[in-house]
Subunit: 423 residues, 2 copies
């Protein structure tokens, strides 16, 4: 019985790992441009860190267990509680605003759905210590620049921006939704696009009357046109955020859309989601402002805004565009020793080339030159460097371009120093 | 009660994360030079994957639990079983020899010892499908090139190379250690340097006689001089491995030392460990040949050699040499808007500079120019780019070198295109 990975967990063979690393590189490059510093925390945390914020019901979705010391622990399902814990621990020393990002692997035990992973990697970018809408615009711009850096335009990817305080003001007016009802109503509105019937049921439960629920439902339907709410006095921050995105030249990507609510209860203001323009995939990225969380988790009162962007949907988006990925080549130069007595010189040269950061391989067992060249071709090496007795005598090697088959004799000194292997 | 990380788990604040990433970059750079491809596997695996190889007693050191689906699972304590599982699954398609590396985070529940982590990151480099000693030399050379790339010489770091088959031949001769006793005897020898009394007890238990144990003990003491064993016929592979390392110019780092045995039972030939020359720290790296493991775990019979190198001891070695690390700077340019009406132009310029991969920050709230320049200095930015009404009028900005305080007027077009911010 051969071993296999657990259901929902991915083996990353080199081809898949290379695709993942290209995404990570873009994440890191764009985060650096925005002045963000990388941090990381433990993948295993005290269970309380998650239940305090999200309630006991989250345990159902966690990989939670008791460790050998009797502690209740969980594999991290999200990064924000760890971020809140870490920032709170050093809040006094850290210069605000704090711009931090991380690329954690996250774990959720979800009933297995088709294509759903139980783990994924997620870029988290957060600005902590700035309450104004410039910070919201900054993280939205970074999310957009990531998809732009991956080659997607405003015809491929859209950001839908909303604001829970604007929704709250709209619901609180003539609809009379009270502050203590608001959380449940917003949670119901969040369901409208995906599961309208469940949303209506949830509204009735939240508002205690079918009539009030119908009124809110009409309000929800009216959100197709963002104009009225956007013109309301509550939308000052949201308008400023959108204006900043326009000033950065990113206005083409932005749709104000109050149907975006975000499921998590801890959001307190602007919220946003990135989608593929065709809406064929799940959200590429989601985030928003959560000004109360740090106080709850760490006892430090600092406003926060940030987002999470997973590797799975982004990978699907890239694969949909690019089709089958090209094969990775791991070798530039393959060093060939003609006979056993040429081997020490071949090893010395291989090592000298590696010192120049050339990617070098050679046959680990004694083989005929033809066999060695076959392996060189199988590896996709651009050049073979062949050393035999005559070459050693002359202090040279034969450089063979494996594509054009052109051979050149080059001094060993030059190979060691700076010879350019041009493809 | 503020939350803290679990005992033995590290929070990586940006300064620590930057140090970790520098190690990872060197690992990846050297692995690439050697033609290795990166892979990754799940941090959570079926428990059986570990117990089948190492026996039930390993459970004591594992983070093992039952998941919600009733599966016995464990956080990975090492990468080799996952590697064996993955290679076995694709053994037919993969061109041999396979050169793979990975940088997994590994987990062990050890009774808390001072400075001992319960998690660490470990570079794993393995060559699969080549039985000859050139493969052993290749992975040892890569391990040495990593410490060389980090700036350490043969006066700082040593590799101690040994061979369990040579030890086995030595023990099997006039000492009469039988094949079925060999595993327990080697495990006892492995303890000699650290815990000689426990080693002697283990020898007596393995050999069933104090007299035989004393004979093996004398043999162990004689290993201070590797000469006799190295001259024996069993040492052909080991001598060839060392000769290859010399040919690569790495001979200065190598000590043949038969006191190195390696604790894990699955090693079958050459074994090695890297140490700091002063022997003040634990091993930097350990590895060797394990030709039977793939067959046991995956049913595919392929010879393997490889090593693991953790981030903790390597980090200590670097810190011992370098002292307090320098502060990381995350920003190149700080864009300053003089008034509110200059802000859109400042945002446009900030975004244009980011498109050039310049690391840019600006004040997220409206502040006086002096306050903005203070934040620029606090971030360590090299330059401020200041835009006011006069500059906008002229299509220019003031570039202020924050070290020399020299100011230059530069066209916005030039800033957007290719202006070089030289420190």
């Amino acid at each position: 019985m051969p071993f296999v990975a657990l259901p929902g967990f991915r083996d990353a063979f080199p081809d898949a790992l290379a695709r993942r690393r290209r995404i990570f590189e873009v994440w890191r490059r764009v985060a650096a441009r925005y002045g963000f510093e990388e941090y990381d925390g433990p993948p295993l945390e005290p269970l309380d860190l998650y239940t305090q914020k999200s309630g006991e019901e989250i345990i159902e979705q966690l990989y939670a267990f008791n460790d050998k010391g009797g502690r209740s622990v969980a594999l991290r399902p999200e990064m924000t509680p760890t971020l809140a814990r870490m920032v709170s621990a050093r809040a006094a020393q850290l210069k605000k605003p704090i711009r931090w990002f991380s690329i954690p692997q996250l774990f959720r035990y979800e009933r297995q759905q088709r294509g759903r992973q139980r783990e994924h990697f997620q870029l988290n970018m957060d600005i902590i210590g700035e309450a104004g809408p410039s910070a919201d615009a900054e993280v939205i711009a970074a999310a957009l620049d990531i998809v732009r850096e991956l080659g997607f335009g405003s015809g491929d990817v859209r950001v839908r921006v909303s604001d829970r305080t604007v929704l709250g003001a709209g619901l609180g007016g003539e609809l009379g939704v009270r502050q203590e009802e608001l959380g449940a109503v917003l949670a119901a509105l969040d369901k409208f696009e995906r599961a309208p019937e469940a949303a209506i049921e949830a509204l009735e439960a939240a508002l205690g009357s079918a009539e009030r629920a119908r009124a809110v439902q009409r309000f929800a339907s009216s959100l197709v046109d963002p104009g009225p709410l956007l013109a309301s006095g509550a939308a000052v921050s949201l308008n400023e955020c959108v204006a900043s995105l326009r000033a950065m030249g990113l206005g083409d990507f932005v749709d104000v859309d109050f149907r975006i609510v975000r499921g998590l209860a801890y959001y307190t203001g602007i919220v946003f989601e990135l989608f593929d323009a065709k809406r064929a995939l799940r959200a590429i990225c989601g985030g928003g402002r959560y000004d109360d969380l740090l106080k709850q988790v760490g006892g430090v009162d600092l406003p926060c805004v940030g987002f999470g962007m997973g590797d799975v949907v982004l990978g699907e988006l890239i694969a949909d565009r690019d089709g089958a990925p090209s094969v990775e080549v791991a070798v530039d130069v393959f060093v060939v020793a003609v006979g056993a007595e040429d081997r020490p010189e071949a090893l010395a040269l291989a090592h000298a080339l590696r010192e120049r950061d050339v990617r070098v391989e050679y046959a680990l067992k004694r083989q005929a030159v033809g066999k060695q060249l076959e392996l060189a071709a199988a590896r996709g090496a651009g050049h073979a460097v062949i050393i035999g007795p005559a070459e050693r005598e002359a202090g040279e090697a034969v450089v063979r371009n494996l594509e054009t088959k052109v051979e050149t004799r080059v001094k060993l000194n030059e190979l060691r120093r700076d010879y350019a292997f041009t493809r």
